[in-house]
Amino acid sequence: MVIAIEHLTKKFQQTTVLDDVSVEIQPGEFFVLVGPSGSGKSTLLRMIAGLTTVTAGQIRTEAGDLTRLPPKDRHLAMVFQNYALLPFLTVAENVRFGLENLGLSEAEKTVRVREALALVHLENLADRRPKALSGGQQQRVALARALATKADTILMDEPLSNLDAQLRAEMRTEIMRLHREIGMTLIYVTHDQVEAMTMGDRIMVVEGHRVQQVGTPLDLYNHPANTFVAGFIGTPQMNWFELTVMPDQRHYRLAGADTVRPLPMPLAAGQYRLGVRPEHLVTGRTRGPHALAVTVDAVQQLGDQTLVFAGDRVSATSGQLDVFVGESRYFTLPEAPDHWHLFSVATGARIGMEAATVGA
């Protein structure tokens, strides 16, 4: 079932919470809504669920217009951040609670409950109360309650935010496995960009009540549409430089530096914001045409890679690098034009290579 969202807008009195969102979610897709807290991503999910009313715009599927339907008629299930398990019911009764209105016989319900609990490996805990379970197990019960409905679409609102790091990683794999096995459409809200990058087929970045970009994880990483997406996606974060391209369109100068350096590709003269991923900013001992002299402030040895910090910039080198705090090094900008992310100083929007490059 394709879920088509068209010009969806939500206002609470004068405050706009979500402004003109349009997207089409494909059947079986793992679709992630990501953004900082207060960006409006949860509101969007709740509007899809029917828990929050829509101010303007439409939500449609092949079955028709859902915009004004009550939640129960939308054939979807939802998993909440706080699990929302009724404390006085057992695990099995909680799962059964989600099947209330599907017109199933008691026997069918029992089968559904057993199947769903088996999917999340909780068969043995069916008679426990939620309080007797760990956070991860409680979240599994909440997942089972959604799965038991066999809804085409399952909505998840920050389902892993209350878990510790190890459990979160475990449940991430678990949810991806369930998605692969069952093939339902998943719409997943998170504020954690790592979660979004590792889980989503496609990601929608929401910030400031607007959609910033929709795309596959690598799309967002390699071609961020604006400075917000560029900074939000990827850890450690993108490095930023202000640069001025000289009238000759072959040279540039970094803000605060006198040196005029040759461009890797010709660009229209003017001001730009340049973003460079840490792995494309090379730490070295030799001075080249694109090198910046820095003093190392901090070093993080991760084993498989080394992060070198200097000022507000960071360079990531794979492997273990022999470098110490206080040493002088050079950070070298990439030669490959693909690794230069250029943005407008005024709007923050990405400036495509095609638009900026001249001649070539």
């Binding site: 669920a49 029917g50 939640p71 909440f80 009724l86 404390p87 609670f97 209330e100 209105n101």
Partner: protein, 308 residues
């Protein structure tokens, strides 16, 4: 053995010393004024009532002759007392259950996210600030057969008997109605605060699963606030057993003793008929009934309460 005794003696002496020197003395001193007042106005009357219930008294209420359980025999042989007992049970059951049920309904309504819900909440809780006497007079006027609006309305709607207070069952209905109205504000406020602590998620899960609003109340709200509901039932039952002002001002126990509830009958027998002995026996029976009702609730209802 001897060693043990010395230990015990020493311990006693030490604890006595501690009592004289210690914090207990200060604590007792601080409690003394309220203990004195309680003793004078609560414990002494209770004890005196118990004593009186075994005596015949003169018209001034002074005990004259010990009669053992004769007062209790007389009370249980009195058909008016038996009628009063039945009426009281009907009244208590009706008032406590209707109050809690209505308060729960109103509290559910008042937790809805609507504009100006604060005004609605204030209105629902407002009877809390109303005295029973003032409320009784107000309703008495509303039900007055010649000037009251309600009889006129009832007549317009085709009611044959438009003076409910003159009719046995009608009077009971009115008394129950007014008592429920009076108790509602308190019960509503207590339940409202309990309901606000129920996570909204639970209702949203139910909403998505297609659980109707009534079933949401029964399957989510009631279990979640069951400790509060239990507390309210206990308190409401006790309060209803003790209802006095509504009866005194609205019906005077009539017509035909239908609304002559126990607490009111005790008053009539003692201060109307000067039968202090039997009235004391009735008061003791009433106290016993309240204790029994409370025990029954703790024994049988509390099992169903979910304390989380």
């Amino acid at each position: 053995m001897e060693l043990n005794e010395t230990h015990a003696v020493r311990r006693t002496r030490r604890s006595l010393l501690a009592w004289v020197r210690g914090d207990e003395r200060v604590a007792f001193g601080l409690l003394a004024p309220s203990l004195f007042i309680l003793a004078l106005f609560t414990f002494y009357p209770m004890l005196a009532t118990l004593v009186n219930s075994f005596f015949v008294t003169n018209i001034a209420g002074v005990t004259t002759r010990f009669v053992g359980l004769a007062n209790y025999q007389a009370v249980f042989g009195d058909p008016v007392f038996i009628q009063s007992l039945t009426s009281t049970l009907v009244y208590v059951l009706a008032v406590s259950s209707l109050t809690v049920l209505l308060a729960l309904t109103l509290a559910r309504l008042a937790t809805m996210k609507l504009r100006h819900i604060g005004w609605v909440r204030t209105a629902f809780a407002s009877t809390m600030g109303m005295s029973a006497a003032a409320a009784s007079i107000l309703w008495l006027f509303l039900f007055n057969p010649s000037v009251g609006q309600l009889p006129q309305l009832m007549q317009a709607l085709g009611w044959a008997n438009a003076n409910p207070l003159a009719d046995g069952q009608g009077a009971m209905v009115v008394v129950v109605l007014v008592s429920v109205w009076l108790h509602l504000g308190f019960a509503f406020l207590i339940l409202l605060s309990a309901l606000q602590s129920v996570p909204q998620d639970y209702y949203e899960v139910a909403e998505i699963a297609g659980v109707s609003s009534l079933k949401q109340t029964l399957r989510i709200t009631v279990p979640m606030v069951s400790p509060t509901l239990f507390f309210l039932f206990v308190v409401e039952v006790i309060a209803s057993f003790k209802s006095f002002a509504e009866i005194d001002l609205m019906t005077g126990g009539g017509p035909n003793n239908v609304t002559n509830l126990l607490a009111y009958k005790v008053y009539l027998d003692a201060f109307g008929l000067q039968k202090f002995g039997p009235a004391s026996a009735e008061a003791i029976v009433l106290t016993g009934l309240i204790a029994l009702a409370t025990w029954v609730q703790f024994r049988f209802t509390e099992r169903k309460v979910f304390y989380g």
